[in-house]
């Protein structure tokens, strides 16, 4: 990996009088896929807001060594209101126009919109309005919207929440492909540790106010996860992907981590 795109040094995050995460230290390299996992209330959203520049850190330094790049943000699809009477194409077009970049001439604008629609597989939906899109289609539109601004880094907030297994796999494969082919840095926050397995270059697990970092190979083991979560965890590996289960004390067998938070 090359030089850091983003560094956090001894950063404390939260709201005045209520620090949620203390003394965070981590860096994200240019072109890296960094997955952040944590249960509800772990501080994922607070971390995300801080990374997006919407919430200043309470202490410490958040630094973009090469200057703040263009960030493509993909929210959870519930954050976008489908009552707005816009077509898929309009959402992308207006996002570009709102930036008011003089070099985006009309022809180039159309080309950018067409290109991201093709990359995210939503060309056929171009003239559909938001209220007619399925959950997966809406999430792909939000990805296309993030891509249309030509970002150096993509920040995704639980993009596969409430998606079924097939839609989740399709979406995550698309993210992996974009990361591989375009070299975009990816910061993906999720509940679902398993969906990052085999895709992320590095993981951060938020648990009890701490960020446990490491490579998937190091972190996705029964020992590491057991230590972090304080529970008996089983990790099975198949074709380079890890399948993670948490031992349930009252129910026989195992549950997949992240189905609704750990």
């Amino acid at each position: 990996m090359s030089m850091p795109l983003l560094t956090l040094e001894h950063v404390t995050l939260g709201y005045p009088g209520k620090a949620l995460l203390k003394n965070l230290d981590f860096a994200v390299s240019r072109g890296e896929f960094f997955g952040i996992v944590g249960p509800n209330g772990a501080g994922k959203s607070t971390l995300l807001k801080t990374l997006l520049g919407l919430l200043p850190p309470l202490a410490g330094h958040l630094h973009w060594p090469e200057g703040r790049p263009v960030i493509g943000y993909v929210p959870q699809r519930e954050r976008v209101d489908p009552i707005w009477p816009m077509r898929v194409r309009d959402v992308l077009h207006h996002t570009l126009c709102a930036l008011g970049r003089p070099h985006f001439r009309r022809k180039r604008e159309h080309a950018s919109v067409a290109e991201v629609m093709a990359a995210t597989g939503i060309e056929a939906l171009a003239n559909q309005t938001l209220d007619t899109l399925s959950g997966g289609e809406m999430q792909r539109l939000l990805l296309a919207r993030a891509l249309v601004v030509d970002p150096a880094v993509l920040v995704l907030d639980e993009p596969t929440a409430a998606m079924d297994l097939v839609a989740t796999e399709t979406f995550m494969n698309m993210i992996s492909r974009l990361h591989r082919e375009r070299g975009i840095s990816i910061l993906l926050v999720t509940h679902d540790l398993q969906s990052l397995s085999g895709r992320a270059d590095r993981l951060g697990i938020l648990q009890s106010g701490q960020l446990h970092q490491g490579s998937p190979e190091d972190l996705l083991t029964s020992e590491s996860l057991g230590r972090i979560y304080g529970q008996k965890i089983q990790v099975d590996t198949l074709r380079g992907r890890s399948f993670i289960h948490i031992a349930h004390e009252t129910v026989s067998g195992f549950e997949r981590i992240g189905a609704g938070g750990t």
Binding site: L52, G53, L54, V70, I71, Y73, P75, R79, V80, D81, I83, W84, P85, M86, R87, D90, V91, H93, H94, T95, L96, C97, A98, L99, G100, T129, D131, R145, A146, V149, V155
Partner: protein
């Protein structure tokens, strides 16, 4: 009939009333689309009340009511938009408090003002036939100014309202675009409130955009329909008020709200088919 309408609008006071109704109503119908889409309809109800409070304060102190409408409308918008959630009371709670306070204090102040009956009429049912040349020019100026601002910055208004977090991430000054939208709304309300009353202001903000949003799923069609319905309602309401000797503001407000019913029926038929 055409001749009678021509004769009716030959009077200067009718021309002024029509200009205030058409430009003010069209403007509020246009801005009302954003009120609906941002799901802040209750704010749309509270703002005319706060504007009414501004007018009643002006009347109480024997100042120009128009000044009170402008100051009240803009101050109310700033107060409700940027007050946050003190005490963790939901923002809707504060909007409700503003609605109730605006209306009740306005009535109390009017009862203490030199000419309480005329003031009450002006505030709630309006006295659009009392509109003069400066009222008309103000309505035209605010409508054209707002139209020009939105024409130049259409995508910014759209994107910052549609997804504020993503917009802020891209460096758009969301609070600036929100403030501009609300300022246009404040000036628009002042233009209508001072002569046509709170009923018409709220009717124009809510009725035409509601019908347009039910009928169409394309932004240009929604905007165009809302503005056409708003301006038509102003013309039809004013004409009816002259013909049948009805109060102007409520007649125009009724005309503005009427399209909601056929639009709802049309949607039911469309969904059924």
């Amino acid at each position: 009939m055409i001749g009678e309408i021509r004769e009716m609008y030959g009077y200067a006071f009718m021309q002024h009333a029509l200009l205030v109704g058409v430009f003010g109503g069209g403007l509020l119908a246009f801005l009302g689309v954003f009120i609906h889409l941002r799901r802040i309809v209750f704010l749309g109800a509270a703002l005319p009340q706060i504007s009414a409070l501004g007018i009643s304060i002006a009347l109480f102190f024997s100042l120009a009511p128009f000044l009170g409408a402008v100051v009240g409308g803009v101050a109310g918008i700033l107060l409700l938009s940027f007050s946050g959630r003190p005490g963790k009371l939901p923002s809707e709670g504060w909007v409700g408090i503003a609605y109730a306070t605006g209306g009740s204090v306005a009535v109390v102040l009017l009862s203490l003002s030199p000419n309480p009956d005329a003031g009450a009429l002006r505030l709630f049912t309006g006295d659009i036939l009392g509109a003069n040349r400066s009222h008309a020019l103000w309505a035209i100026g605010v409508a054209l100014g707002t139209g020009l601002l939105f024409r130049l910055c259409w995508s910014k208004f759209l994107v910052s309202g549609f997804d504020p977090v993503m917009s802020a991430t891209l460096g758009l000054k969301v609070h600036v675009w929100n403030a501009l939208l609300f300022l246009c709304l404040g000036f628009g309300l002042a233009a209508v409130m001072n002569t046509a009353g709170s009923m018409l202001a709220f009717g124009m903000l809510i009725g035409p955009p509601a019908a347009a949003l039910m009928l169409f799923r394309s932004f240009p069609a929604v905007i165009l329909t809302a503005v056409i319905l708003g301006t038509s309602a102003a013309f039809l309401g004013l004409t009816a008020s002259f013909w049948f000797d009805l109060p102007g503001g409520p007649a125009m407000a009724t005309a503005a709200l009427f399209p909601v019913l056929p639009a709802r029926i049309w949607v039911a038929i469309r969904d059924w088919r």
